[in-house]
Each structure stands twice: as structure tokens, then as C-alpha cells.
Symmetry: D3
Subunit: 291 residues, 6 copies
Amino acid sequence: MLNRATIDRVVAAALEEDAPWGDLTSEYLIVETAQARADLVARERGVFSGGEVFEAAFRLTDPRIEVQLIVEDGEWFEPGAVLAVVTGPARGVLTAERVGLNFTQRMSGIATLTGRYVAEVAHTRASIADTRKTTPGLRAFERKAVRDGGGRNHRYSLSDAVMAKDNHLALLTRGAVDGGWEAALTRALRAAKERLPHTAHLEVEVDRLEQIEPVLAAGVGTIMLDNFSLDDLRVGVAQVAGRATVEASGGVSLDTVRAIAETGVDVISVGALTHSARALDLGLDVRIDAP
Amino acid sequence: MLNRATIDRVVAAALEEDAPWGDLTSEYLIVETAQARADLVARERGVFSGGEVFEAAFRLTDPRIEVQLIVEDGEWFEPGAVLAVVTGPARGVLTAERVGLNFTQRMSGIATLTGRYVAEVAHTRASIADTRKTTPGLRAFERKAVRDGGGRNHRYSLSDAVMAKDNHLALLTRGAVDGGWEAALTRALRAAKERLPHTAHLEVEVDRLEQIEPVLAAGVGTIMLDNFSLDDLRVGVAQVAGRATVEASGGVSLDTVRAIAETGVDVISVGALTHSARALDLGLDVRIDAP
Amino acid sequence: MLNRATIDRVVAAALEEDAPWGDLTSEYLIVETAQARADLVARERGVFSGGEVFEAAFRLTDPRIEVQLIVEDGEWFEPGAVLAVVTGPARGVLTAERVGLNFTQRMSGIATLTGRYVAEVAHTRASIADTRKTTPGLRAFERKAVRDGGGRNHRYSLSDAVMAKDNHLALLTRGAVDGGWEAALTRALRAAKERLPHTAHLEVEVDRLEQIEPVLAAGVGTIMLDNFSLDDLRVGVAQVAGRATVEASGGVSLDTVRAIAETGVDVISVGALTHSARALDLGLDVRIDAP
Amino acid sequence: MLNRATIDRVVAAALEEDAPWGDLTSEYLIVETAQARADLVARERGVFSGGEVFEAAFRLTDPRIEVQLIVEDGEWFEPGAVLAVVTGPARGVLTAERVGLNFTQRMSGIATLTGRYVAEVAHTRASIADTRKTTPGLRAFERKAVRDGGGRNHRYSLSDAVMAKDNHLALLTRGAVDGGWEAALTRALRAAKERLPHTAHLEVEVDRLEQIEPVLAAGVGTIMLDNFSLDDLRVGVAQVAGRATVEASGGVSLDTVRAIAETGVDVISVGALTHSARALDLGLDVRIDAP
Amino acid sequence: MLNRATIDRVVAAALEEDAPWGDLTSEYLIVETAQARADLVARERGVFSGGEVFEAAFRLTDPRIEVQLIVEDGEWFEPGAVLAVVTGPARGVLTAERVGLNFTQRMSGIATLTGRYVAEVAHTRASIADTRKTTPGLRAFERKAVRDGGGRNHRYSLSDAVMAKDNHLALLTRGAVDGGWEAALTRALRAAKERLPHTAHLEVEVDRLEQIEPVLAAGVGTIMLDNFSLDDLRVGVAQVAGRATVEASGGVSLDTVRAIAETGVDVISVGALTHSARALDLGLDVRIDAP
Amino acid sequence: MLNRATIDRVVAAALEEDAPWGDLTSEYLIVETAQARADLVARERGVFSGGEVFEAAFRLTDPRIEVQLIVEDGEWFEPGAVLAVVTGPARGVLTAERVGLNFTQRMSGIATLTGRYVAEVAHTRASIADTRKTTPGLRAFERKAVRDGGGRNHRYSLSDAVMAKDNHLALLTRGAVDGGWEAALTRALRAAKERLPHTAHLEVEVDRLEQIEPVLAAGVGTIMLDNFSLDDLRVGVAQVAGRATVEASGGVSLDTVRAIAETGVDVISVGALTHSARALDLGLDVRIDAP
């Protein structure tokens, strides 16, 4: 459930962006009394996402417009399906059309791509998770779309979980002599854990197998195996043995995701869900009636 | 040139979105005095876009961070190229990294996709144009990216040009008897033109050849041939004969764009440039130095 | 039609500006249960503008207040006419009064001044157009008022049309030898046109007759004859001969506009419409009823 | 002194309003390296106002632009005077020009009109004061302009002083029998005073002489004589005899203000200062230099 | 009465702050169809404040939620009292709970503390006033709470009254020789008064008795006796003798306020009302019903 | 480290709140050329917090003002200590004074109260944690203050951790027969965990000992023992035996916190840290120098 205040703030800004001085075409070519009925129609198969946002685009343009959502967020639909019906003054319906579509096409595109990844790994224990590679300003919407597609959200921001990467590990073990880096790493992570919010998840990204033990020794929540080969993933999963959540990352595509999931990892994070999903092909079929 | 006030407003909001309560990882794992040097590196070939925006992400996080742009917006680069160098306090560099990348990867992705379309039609008179199918809140940025890729901007919003489509034409010719629709259409468009801002471009979308003459008779600026076959495009171009700009739209992809351009149209509009470009693969190679 | 989201954003800000800590007078002198009925009355003749905005001032202060608009935007009214009726809780009615009036008096003032210019040129082909000399933050409202007065909007912003002035022409022809400036100018304008959005109107301001031909040769949309004498305007119109829209600018007042229009120009732009219109004299006649 | 945060917020919004997608003319007709020097020149006599705001328009567009203010806010200048000099990248100078002018022309217009009123009453004890009839969103700026013109600010908003008008008086004395309304009025105003912030000024508007005594008996700060004849103003001033500030309002123009002031009133409030001042004629003389 | 636009702006921001990506607990643990009824219950005795704000938290989260206010702002209640009843979809009720409570607990805390101060001085002529020591961003709300507690608002901001303190007095009398400082001070304050808005209250803070006469001689509205002993307060009150409002400040607590009030001062300002009130203990008793 | 964009946004809004039309006192009583030096001085012992925010108040008022921070956030200081030194134009220094103090007094008040709680439990394993009972709009600042006082942040918002309370548990176990509620609870929590972001912490609040086992069986991160007696806390800690973080909540005060900590719990959350801390007594000692 998206916060209505958030939806309205973001959609209102999008409407102003798309019509800073009004909609010339509606105003000069359509009589004020004309009424419209518009069907939101699927041009391809997909998962619906963004119904509330679509509705807001019309409501915020003209409160007399009504939007009836026929398909719920998270539902799969076939080409030709009518997803929603919009009725009301024709000028407003046409003014809001593009903004409404821009949101729901993008969100449904993300939901659908997520749904395809999820289907690939359905027979495994792995979840498909998103990343922080989202569109600036739209993260709440894109994360909703991932959930609608059956995916699982990763940390939302820099503020709700720690993700220690190679740079951090190097820094934390600086100056450790010989094989002393393992102990140094464990110690440093433990020290951080004690000061962090107790609700903050601690995730550590490793890029080779020998880092796993010292990281686990610190009691982390998730260990991310970054760019591991399938074999190494399997070894890693065995080594972790349930002591932490195992996340795989890097080199994930629709072609590779199934094999990765079959190594036994718990979570596979996929930047492409949000940074490279294409908009789903949805259209608005409008009929206008004028007295 | 993007307005600095706009850049700063949008980037500041993105930074707050990504770290509403600060960056836990930086704060708990990196000493305050650590310094970083980070190279923005291309992992694939592309066109750079968003340099100023990338710079703003770091500057607005910590004014002590300096960003040196090495490649200019609009330049092609090869994999491995260093596009920019960031130096300053390590905490801030890492805090801003993802937001900086999210903007520039998206913009460079759009610029690069545009560049590929432009290359396809380079030997013709056709320009590649974008559409209003942009990300809500980021239109100014995405349009800049299209220009950086060598594309040409279409109307920016509902307020700066009229685009009459099938619905409008149907409405304008309602009640016309027999073949009278042609005269009715010409008359209606002319009437609108006289009331519109004289600087507002009038574009009319037609879906069959016989609509061309009555539309041209009204003195429109652009006639859009929507979903025409290649043959019909050629006939249409000949029929217009320079009396208006000819825009082709619908069914445009990297596979089809060359043939469409070769029909002689002036402009080809491509929604995919902004609604379905994938993020370009750029990364930040960070080295941290702590006393 | 103004976007409701825009109206509400601007009016809410105005209400907060006028009562950052509430309305002391209403709160300390009027009982909470008092009801008011207020007539918006014309104290002078004019054109109404800003009905929706007037309504928003009351609705956003207290949703229980109802505003019935009696005169529509764009209608002329006589002194004494009741333009709207406001009913609801007295405190809110009085709190919103000044903000509601500030908007509608300003907008009706602009509409009325525009109406007077339009009346002067009614027998000619000329339209009266506004300029970018609007009040910061209120351009969408003031442009609406110009339309309500029968005027025609000019470009809305720096982003929707090009206006090349003396400085630009000097720059574009720099270095041209002898009479070569004409060719240089034509060439430069043509080059710009090819890169500009095809929907962007190209207008060029000239200040002497010999600039007309090289500008027209580039295929511009509008040629602005700046500060031309009436004789030169007539010559200019003849010379352009329908190849572009002819706009006259400079030295336009209610005394001079008729003669300028009679030279045959298409558009006369008048900065005074928005930068120097005085507020129309409208008042709110309030009756309060308390139990 | 205007708060810099306020200036920057308002000016940045104005810049975005005037160039939501950038300045096409600058971007397509001026090379990036061109430099400009621009003089802000007076085309008529007036009082300068808005120097800081003018400066902000350029600084917020491009921080490399420098603005040197030559005339200070509040100074009179003659036609032809150079008020400020702007130097920096030509694109930004031209982009910010109109917004900078829109602010300073409006503010200087208000300051100049105020200055003319002030000059009319210079030989009397009367101050010229503004009203709440300001432009929505720009009150802080317009009030500054009034001060620059030598005027005196009235209450800034509904929150900083009480102004009881005819409606309020009628309500406060409702139900009082016979001549009892005087006592009822005094009592009601005193009661309000005791609850109001002790720093809140209490001003009461009266429209006939017999209201003066009961109002004064309550110990008000200001008594406003609304639409009084000159004779009645003189009687009123004598009657008040220094027990409260006397404000005259209604029917004030440059023709009548001197006579009103000579009746001995302390303050004359003039709505026209802000709601009907015309913009002062200032222009930017730009010279562009390109390598 | 708080402006609804202000309430909604501030509450919407608080809701976004508390759930930037939605409410995980509601979304993952409560079925969408569950309904809730929640009583706002007092856990301790106090004065209610913030009813409208409490209502807005739920309405802005989900417009289907209804809030019935049972106790009015400004009413005292006993422990166990039900102050309001909330009914509607359970997810939204729980999402908005904390934000609604945060506002009303803080406001009721301030109102209650104010009420205790007011009770202490009830037998005297003194009012209890607040200060500018409020929470950034919430001043309008906290000032409302003080009124609800029976207190009196002081100046709202730096813009609605002048408060001259020791620094200012030192500056104004700089360079005065011998005993000349008294005359210099009177002169300087008078000069300021003549230029200030006539509605701006002039308050001067003095820290010793001999400053009183020269300040009064300038005709100030309020004289603040800062950190005076009880004896000096009594002397000061006698000396002022009704020629100005007398405000006492400094060293005020629930233990000392009665004695201070009994010295005869008019106003006692108490920073602690807003900067150190603790939140009142209110709770939401929620019952959830799911089909 | 607070994000600079956030600091500036919040502080600029506070400055506008406190001086919507400028600072009358500075403008009318202080010459523009006056310079000030101001020491931020501690009037009581405490922990400093809010240095960056204090600095921003002055910088955003007038960029010429310099603030030198002498004490760092998180440091204890004694009464009389100089915490920071402000130098620059006197008008701006006095205008920003109250806003700067309001932030830093509040933050230092929270830090100091936190510090006192932390000192009480220093000999135990318990951390002191804050809650979501923060001031609307200031959570990021108040959480920083808690950290500066040596406290540990709890979840920041509804979006970064799940907190299941009595209502949720009742709902999750509805319809379970006999003793079946334990299994039902475990099952329901496990099911939620699988869909939640893997980085989302799952915390469950219990109010009696027999709930502990079924909750732990689901593998939660934290179990909160709400309003347990000291004896029950000890039993609970033993029962959990390190399988989850143990948080104590309810009835926590400076008098009780030590005994609670000694029961062996890991975290003690204290709403009072933010909802009932009083402002610390800090003052600005200003010296003004005028030419």
C-alpha cells in the first residue's frame, strides 16, 4: 500500500510537468461539455501495477473523473484485457492520459519483468530481489511494482541496512599483518554491529570464498556472494550452512537466473528489474461523446 | 544546458530519498577523516550524458567533494574509459555514489540508445525525436540525454504544441455529411489555429492517406503518419511535398528505422528512447585512504 | 482550463502567506458558529477571470464553504453585478476573502485590459498577444486571464519557442564581410532550425526593413517588427506577403494599437497586459449570521 | 533585508517557470563559450528596488555570473542611469534576463509609485502605508519595495494585527438595545484585547464619527477612518486627539492624497501601491563577445 | 483555527517521514480487508489539543478512515477519558497511529503545561505567554496548543513585533556622554517607531530599574523586566503605572510563577511551555476485526 | 552525518517560519554595517549536538557569517564552556540566533538526556535506544542527537523493520483452537518473514512469558518484553538465551533504567529521549561593533 500523500505529491508534480500552461489540444479542440469513456487496454501480456497511481492522475486533474480498476495490482493479464475504465469530462481524461500511462506502463513493465524472473526460479528456494538502482524520485513506486511482480524488496535506502563492500573490507582490515586480516575483519564487523541500530540488518559482500568464515564469525545477517561462479556459489552455500542469508549478485539475467537459483542461494538481487525494465505496452482506448 | 536550480532541486530530493536518515554504512564503517578518489568508468561503449547532474550528487552531499568531468555530454566513449574523477571525504563519496550513478547511467543509456538510432538514419534527411513517454519528474533530464545522443526533442509538454489525433479528428468532423468531412476538418483546424498562440505548433496525426489533403489545407506545421506501411509513407511524403514537416510514428525499432527513414520522412519519433532504454553500465572505482 | 493541482498548490501557498499563524480577527472577534453569505460584486465594468481560483481560496480554507460562480470566466459584466456567491462558516469566509480577491481582481484586471485592446482592433486581422513580462510564479494564471479577455497567448516560456533578437543576429553574422551578412544570417537560422525541436516555433525580431528578406529566406515562423513606424510596418507587411506571421511590438498603447493593427500585422504583443494592468475593483459584500 | 533563503526559493521557482526545459534560444543560437556584459539601464526616472533579487536570478542560473549593483535599493535614479552590471557566460545572462527584470521592474515600479505618494505628503505628519492587496506569493518582496520607496508597511498578514471592520462591529453589537451599542462595542473590544497576544495591534475601522468614542474607550492602537470626507477626517483627528493612531483609507489617489494628509491623519493606506503599480521601464543592454 | 492547507502540508510530510516506503507491519501482517476501531484514550489528566491535526493524520493516509472527536481542543479531561474514536481500514489506522499521536501528545503536553501555569496565576491580572522557543516547523501548532491551555500568544515571529534587548540598547546609546544615554535611548526608540509599521508592537527589554523611564518616554507598547527580583518587579510595575504593558521574564517556573504574578505584572512569558513540555500520555486502543 | 541537503531544507524552512517578512528589530534598530561576534555558551552541563545545523542557520541567513565550532557533536561540556563562535554582519547574526538556538538546544537536550541514561547502564550490556516518538519533521535530527548522546537508534520508520504488537498477534492467531495459538503464531511469523525484504528486521512485542517460545521458533530478530516486571525480564532473558536480541520497554525512567539493564536485556527503548527531553540551556553572548 502506497501512502496516499506520497502518491498525490508525486502525481501532481508529474501533471504539472506535463502541462505547465494547460493542455492546448484539449482546450482548443474539444468542447468543454464533451464526455469521454476510456478503457485501459493491454497490448501485451503482463502483470498489472500502479492502479492507485493511474487513478490519481485523473482524479488530480479533474475530481469529476471516475476510474474503475478492473484488474488488481499483481494480477497477470492477457493481451486485449481491459484493466481499468475511466469516465468523465473529455478534456481532463485526455490531459491526464499520458501521465497516467507513463506511471502504470513503467510500473507494470517492472512487475512483468520481475514476474518472469520469479517464474524462472519458482522451483527453488530463491527469492528475486530488487536493488537501489531505481529511478530518482520514484523508488517507492518501483519497489511496489517489484512486489506486485512477486519479487522481494531489498533494503530501501542507505539508512535501513548496512552493506559492506570490498572498499569497506579493505579499510577495516588495513594494517592487519599476515593472516591477521580474518580476525581483524570479524572484530571490526562485530564492533559495528554493537553500535548500529539493533534493527539494522548487516550485509557483507564478499568476492572470494575465504572471506566467508571471518564474516560469518561476526554474526552478519546476510552474506552476498558477488560475481561467484556457479560452483563457488554451491560451495559458498554449503559453507554458510544456514548461518546467514545467502545472496547472489552479479551476472544475473533471465538466461542465468535459474542455474544461480539452483545453487541453493536464498536471494538473487537483480538491478535490471528497475534500471532496465522496458515500459509495458498499455494503451487508452478513448471514445468521446459531445452534445 | 539544464537550469542549475532544477538540477539541484531534483538531485537533492533523490539524495534524501536514498538516505533519509543518513548512510549507515559510511557512518559506522568508515572513519570521518578517510579520503577517497573515485573514477567513473565505462563498462561498455556509449554516449555520455548527465555530467552536471553527476557532479551535483556529490556537491550537494558534501561541498568539499570535487568532481572533474573528463568526457563531455554527448561524447562517445569506449569500455574502460574514465569519464570523471571524484575526490574528497570518503563518507560523502560513497553516500552519493548510487544517486550519481542512477542519474548518469539512465541518462547515458538514453543518449546511447538515441545515438544508435541516429547512426542508423545518418545517410537520410530524417531526425530521430523523442516523445512525452518519459519518466515522471525527470523529463528535462531525459530530453537532455536525447539531445546528447544526437536526437531532436519533440514537443516538451501538452502546453507547447497541439497534437490532434484520431479522437480529435472524429470530434471535429462529427455531423459532417457525406464527403463533407474533409471541408469540416480543414475548417475546424483553421479555426483552432487562429485562436492558438501563434508560436504553438500544430501537428495532426493521420492514419490514412486521404486525410492528408484536408489537413494540409489548414496549414498545419507537421503531419504525423501513424503506423503507415513503408509504401504508404513514401506516397505520403510525395503527397505532402514539403508543405509540412512529415513525422513517422509507430512500429519503430532499431531494425525498422532505417527503412522508415529512407521513405523520405523528416522526423521519426521513438517512444522507446525514454520509456525503454536500459541503464548504461557505468561504475565507480573507489580507492579509500585513511590516516 | 488550469490544472487543478497547480491551482491548489499556488492558492494554498497564498493562504499560508496571508495567515501564517491564523486569522486573529476571525478567531478573536467571531464566534465559531457564525455563518456568512458573501456576494462577489463588481464595482466597475470588466471581464471576469479567475473563478476557479477564487473558489479554491475558500475551499482550501474550509471545505465546508461553498462557492457558486454566477459569471463565467471571459464574460463582460457591469458595475453592481454579482459575480459569485460564497456561503459557509463566517470565520473561514473572512479569512479567505483577501486571498480570493487578490487573485480574481488581478486576473480580471488583466482580462479587462486585454478586452479593451481587443476591442480596439476588432475590425482588423490582428490578434492581441501577451509576453513573458508576467508576475513570477503566476504566469499560468495571468495567461489564462489574457485568454479570458479575448487575447492570444504568446510563447509561454524560454522552452517553447525561439526568439532571436538583435544580440543573436549580431552574433550569428559576426565576421561576415561586406554584404555577406544576409547570407550568413539565413544560413545560421536554417542550421538552428534543423536541430531545434521540429515543433519549436522560430521567431526573429528585426529592427530594420532590410533584415526581412534574409530572415524569411530561412523559413521562420514569425518575424517581429520591433519599434517600426506605421509606414515601415505597412511596408514590412507587404514585403512578408504571408510568408510568415508578422508581429508588431514596441510603443503599443491603447492610443496607438488601432493604427498599428490597421497596418495589416497579424499579432501585436503588449507587455502592459500583464506587467502593468491594475487590479479590477471587485468587492465582497458579507453578511454574517450568528445564533 | 530579505531573508536569503526566501529570495532563493522564490527566484528559483521563477526561473523554472520561465525555462522548464531550458532556454532554446540560448542553447541553439549562442556558442557555449560566449561571454556577455549587460547593463541594467533605466529608461525612465524612478526608485530602485530588488537589487538582491535581480542578483539572485543570475547567480541561480549560473554561479559564474557576477552582478555588481551600482544603485542601492531605495535610491532615486534618472533615465539613462546604469543601475547594475552583469558579466559572465552569455547563455546564462540571456536566460536569466527576463526573470531578473520581471522582479526588479515590478519592485521598482512599486517603489517609484510609493515615492510619488510620499513626496506628495512630505510636508505633513502622514505616512504612506501599503495594504494586504499584494501579489500572491510575492508579499515579502512587494513590502520591501514599499519601504524602498519611503513608505511604511502596514500589518503583514492576518496573523499580526487585528482589523475589525463593519461586519465585525455589527456582530459585536448585535442585540444591544437603544443607544447601548456604544457600551457593547467598547466591552467587546476590551474583552478581545485581553485575550489577544499583547503584541498584537488592535485596529478598528469606523465609517462614521459617532463610532470613534466607543472604539477609543476600548484602548485600541489605531482607528481607521474609512471613506471619510476631508471635513470629517479633520473632525475625527481632533476627536481622537492623539489617543490612537489615525489611519485614513478609501478614495486615495495621487490627486487626493495631499489634501487627506493635510487633515492631520497619521497614516494613509493605499492599496494601489501594490495592486495597481505598473512595472518600471528598465532594460538590459547586452553585449556579447564570442571567441 | 489552524489553516487547513497548513495542517495538511505538515501532516502529509510527517506521514511520509514515518513511512517512506510504506508500513511493512501493516502490509505483511494484516489482511487488506481488516477493519479497526480505535479509541484515543487519556492515560493521565490533561488539556486536549490537536484534534484537527490528529484527524488529518488518518484522513491523509486513507480517506475512508473516519475520526470522531469527542473532546474539544482546550477541554480538560481525566485519565481514562476517550478523546476521539477512529474507524476504518485497519492497515491505514495502524499506519497513521504514531504520527497522529506524536502530534496530539506534543500539543496536549504543551496545552496541559500551559494550563498548569495558568491555574497558578488565576487570581492575578497576569497572563501566561509563550515565546519563540518553539520547535522548528511546528510553531503554528505549538502556539495553538498554548491557546488551548489558556495561555496567550506572544509575538509569532521576528516580523510582527520589535523586541529591543541589551545589545540593541547598548548600540542605540553608544557614544552618548555622561548621563546622556537616557535621552539618546528615548530619541532612538522614537525614531524607530516612526518608521516601523504602525501596527508593529514595540517591546523593550530592560535589566535595571533606571532604564524604565527613558524607555517609557519613547511610548513603547511593552516593557519587559528581565530577570528582576520580586521586589524590583513590584517597583517596576509601580513605576510603569499603566503606561505600558509590563512583561516579566526569566527564572519562571511552576514554583515561582505565582509570586511573580502577584507583583502585578501583566504578562509572564515562559519559554518552557514549548521548549521543555513533555508529551502527554495518550494511547490508541485498537480493536481489529477481520472477515 | 546528516545529509547537507536535508539540513539546508529544514533549516531554511525554519528561518522562513521565524521571519516571514524579515526581522524588524534588526532592520530598524541596527545599522547595516554593524558587525557582531557571538559566543555560543553553555549555561549548564551537557552533551553537544547539532553543530552543523547551528552553522546552517547563520550561513543560510547571510553567507558572509562564519561559524567556528569549538566543541564537537557528542562531547560533554561544563557550564560556561564556549561551544561555538559566530562572526559576521550583526543583523544576520541576530536574525538567525533564535533558530540556531532552537535547533541546537533541542538536540543537545536530547543528547544530554540520552547521555544520562547511557551513564546509568554503562556497567551492563544494555544499549539505550530511541523510538518513533519524535517530533514530526525532525526525526533525522533527533536521531542524530540520540547517537551523539551515546544512544543507539531503533528502527527509523515504519518502512525499515516490522514490529508486531498485541493487535497483530491476536489477528495472526485468530481462530486457532485450544493451545493451537502457539503453532499458529510461529507459522504466521515465518510466512511473513519469507515475503519481507530479507534485510527487514522482524521484532515481536510480547506481554507474557509463554509467548516467547512460539515467537522465537519463528526466528525473529528481536523480542520485545513489554512492561515486564524485573523478575519476568530476568526469566525472559534466560529463556531467550541469546537466540534473539531482547528489548525491554515500558516503565523506563532514569530511576528504573539501571535495574532493568541489570536483568541482562540487550536494548532498552526510551520514548522520553525524544518526546519529553527539555531543551538544554545554551545562550548566545553577542557583542556588536558598529563603525
